[in-house]
C-alpha cells in the first residue's frame, strides 16, 4: 500500500513569516496533488504536479515535486490569516487510480 506522510501535523505561525510543509510518499509516483480544506468544508484543489522537478506557484503558496526523493513541499511565503486551513497532499499511481492522502497539516496563522 502506498503511504503518504506529512509534517508537521500542526503548524502555528505568525503573519508575515515563511514556512514549508513536507510530504513524503513510499512508492514511485509522478503525480502529486495539494488540497486545502477549511473546517466543515470540502477539499479545494490547489496544485497538480505531474513530473519530476515541477514547481507551481499561486499567490503566497508554492509547491514542488522531487520524484526521486519521493518528496513534495508546500512553501508559504509571508503568511496571512486567510491561509489558515488544513492542507493535504495526495499521491496516485496513475490516472484513474485512487488517491492516497496524507494525514494533513493544520495551519493556523496568528496575527
Amino acid at each position: 500500500e502506498l503511504k503518504v506522510e506529512q509534517n508537521p501535523l500542526f503548524l502555528s505561525m505568525q503573519e508575515g513569516k515563511n514556512y514549508t510543509i513536507y510530504c513524503n510518499y513510499s512508492t514511485t509516483s509522478d503525480r502529486l496533488y495539494w488540497y486545502r480544506q477549511d473546517p466543515g468544508k470540502s477539499l479545494e484543489s490547489l496544485f497538480v504536479l505531474l513530473s519530476n522537478g515541477a514547481v507551481k506557484q499561486e499567490g503566497r503558496l508554492m509547491a514542488s515535486l522531487d520524484t526521486k526523493a519521493r518528496l513534495s513541499t508546500l512553501h508559504i511565503t509571508a503568511a496571512v490569516h486567510d491561509l489558515s486551513a488544513t492542507y493535504f497532499c495526495a499521491v496516485t499511481r496513475y490516472t484513474g487510480n485512487q488517491f492516497y492522502f496524507g494525514t494533513g497539516t493544520s495551519l493556523t496563522v496568528i496575527p
Binding site: 503518504v4 470540502s42 484543489s45 490516472t95 484513474g96 485512487q98 492516497y100
Partner: protein, 114 residues
Amino acid sequence: GAGVSQSPRYKVAKRGQDVALRCDPISGHVSLFWYQQALGQGPEFLTYFQNEAQLDKSGLPSDRFFAERPEGSVSTLKIQRTQQEDSAVYLCASSGTVNTGELFFGEGSRLTVL
C-alpha cells in the same frame, strides 16, 4: 452541474438503520470516487467507478457498504445496519480530466450514528 453535489449534507441515524448517500458528479465526468474522512484524518478511499462500472471497491470496510452508479452519472453509497464506527464524513469526487487526473470534491455528507 457546476460542481459535485452531495445529499444529504447531514444525516443522523440510529445504530442498525440503513442510510443512503447521494452524489451528483460534475456533468460529463467519467470517473467517480467515494472517500471516507474521519475527524482529524485524511480522506480514505472507498470505491471507484468509471462510468457505470465499479472498477475498484477494495476500500469498502465491510459488506454492509454498497455503492452503485447504474447510469454512469449519479451514484449512491448505501450503508446497511449502521454502526457507531461508521460515523464520518463521506466525500464524493469526480474527475473528467484524463491528463491531470485531478479530483473535484463535493461538500460531503456527515453521518452520525447514535
